[in-house]
Assembly symmetry: C2
């Protein structure tokens, strides 16, 4: 491996891969080395459209067999994650996997086990987790003086999908992304809630009544209430049928926090959050945090730096990101189960 540059391969030419193509270029410690698709023509077109002049492969296997690829970024339909992420791990490629990480916990565990036993890093590609605003908000939530004790969280991620999306997008196809809106955007809400709760798993999940499904049984909108043993409560709502909303509210005994663009900040080079405090009643204070790179490039930089450390120092990959993904999946499984069981409360599997 190049001393300073981590070589990325992109597996699949989904829309989000365009953004990641640019992010890999912007991040100082990464280089896009190869693109693989099931179709050489499709990969070639993607390369031209994105100004990429490196290697192009017409199969996923060929991408994984390139010894110069260190990391595989994988924006594949969720159904394909186990097969290709496990194979990537076996080929000793570090895995940056699009969300939702898997269709269920056992599938994710196959991936995580493969990563661990092959000594490669795993991270799901939830970009906002890497924005400096996220760290600054974390500092606020951890400050007993300013925020007090966490009491409740509300998160909402919705967008209005058009007719074409609702008929043809992979996100509404049971054989490709069977989790629908729950997987596509509910994932963000669940991870945001866990982030706010400092990754303490809730005890139970109760889906809201009247989730909406398409004819094939894929979730188009749903919501849930998460309860912790100590009385903390969180709610979230995700939908393909509602105007774009990306709200996160976190309320504590002494302060509160609001953002309205949690998953994708309105601006690329800064992001704003609002805080309330018993010391500054009744107004909310506005705080803007600048970022030197777009959040997706900050994610790539963090991933590349971690990979660089592993490779240079021969370290075992840290499990922080795998653990966050796994907890998100644990809660998602419970939401799905409660949704399917007539919105009965479901215990979150904690093992």
């Amino acid at each position: 491996m190049d001393e300073k540059q981590v070589h990325f391969g992109i597996m699949g030419c989904a829309n989000i891969a365009r953004k990641m193509c640019r992010a890999i270029a912007l991040s100082p410690s990464s280089t896009l080395h190869a693109i693989g698709s099931r179709s050489f023509d499709k990969a070639s077109r993607f390369a031209v459209e994105n100004g990429f002049s490196g290697k192009i492969y017409g199969t996923y296997e060929a991408l994984l067999d390139d010894p110069d690829v260190d990391v595989v970024y994988m924006p594949l339909p969720t159904t394909l994650h186990v097969q290709w992420a496990v194979l990537a791990a076996k080929k000793r490629k570090h895995v940056l996997l699009e969300k939702p990480a898997a269709l269920n916990l056992s599938a994710l565990d196959e991936i995580l086990d493969a990563c661990e036993s092959n000594g490669v890093l795993f991270m799901d590609a939830t970009m906002w987790m890497h924005h400096p605003r996220t760290d600054e908000m974390r500092a606020l939530l951890s400050d007993v003086h300013r925020f007090g004790q966490l009491k409740t969280i509300h998160c909402c991620f919705t967008y209005e999908a058009d007719r074409d999306f609702l008929h043809n997008n992979i996100r509404v196809k049971p054989d490709l992304d069977a989790l629908g809106a729950l997987g596509d955007i509910g994932w963000y809400c669940i991870q945001a809630i866990l982030w706010a709760a400092d990754y303490e798993l809730p005890e139970t999940v109760t889906a809201w009544r009247e989730p909406e499904f398409n004819e094939a049984g894929v979730i188009l909108s749903c919501g849930s209430c998460l309860c912790w043993r100590d009385g903390k409560i969180a709610t979230f709502y995700c939908s393909f049928l509602t105007n774009l909303t990306m709200d996160l509210s976190v309320l504590g005994t002494k302060g509160n926090l609001h953002i309205y663009d949690f998953a994708v900040p309105f601006q690329e080079n800064s992001a704003t959050y609002y805080s309330g405090s018993q010391f500054r009643l009744p107004m909310l204070s506005e705080h803007t945090v600048a970022n030197d790179l777009p959040q997706e490039a900050l994610m790539v930089r963090e991933f590349a730096n971690l990979v660089g450390e592993i490779e240079r120092k021969g370290l075992k990959p840290e499990k922080k990101w795998a653990s966050i993904s796994r907890k998100t999946q644990q809660v998602m499984d419970a939401v799905k189960a409660s949704t399917e069981r007539g919105c009965q409360p479901v215990e979150v599997v904690t093992s």
Copy 2:
């Protein structure tokens, strides 16, 4: 009755009565005529503290027997509402009643029946309903082009009560305000949700798990999910144990609306709301609405104007405000029932 001035009597010297004392003075069509308390001394002190030089009564009955009182504003503990509001109606006083209107629907119906049969106006004192921001937001929600179809609503009203409040305030006493946080601040959330839903009643209410109670069984925090037949969903959370938060989010297919001070605007002479639209992605637009009087004075003005019309023209009181209170109570009863029945879904009584 004075041709232009409606004469108010205040029954009870609760804290909120101070604000209303000023509001009655600020409103152009109302005059504070009398104050009644169970204690003459207390009423006298209140009068001095609030610069009031009119009539003072040491019993509630005496206030109601004053023929020059047109309207009684009643900031009494909820338990006392039926007795005194019914008597006020029988004495032909128009009734402006503090929220929560009653402990349950049957109690409220006693009050509403007494008002109707005696030809007096009823309104609950939910002040923000009378702010011009509320009307402007209503126009947005009703605009199919800008907002589309209503999909979901989230409302949160919390404040952190101190130790003294949690031990001694009437709002935590089962014999005075047995509905606790649900009655005190959940009332606002439920009415805000109904307002956003254009007063269409939900079909079911499901309380969130883990409501918090004090030792006497009074609700200190709770939340609920409301479901409509057409798939609309709303959630709310109210708590005495969380830093001040007054959020309302209303999401439609084409637009959305956010406010963070819905019940009591941060500023007295203007209020702000934020709207998102598919035509202006991805930013929220800020809109500020000026008000010529504080919202409580606007409420008094509206009430006094309606009373003036009734008295001058011999009209029957309009039922709009009674109907809003009644629907709020119907939903509140369902929330309470679901909270008491282990958070099982409860149908909203619609008769």
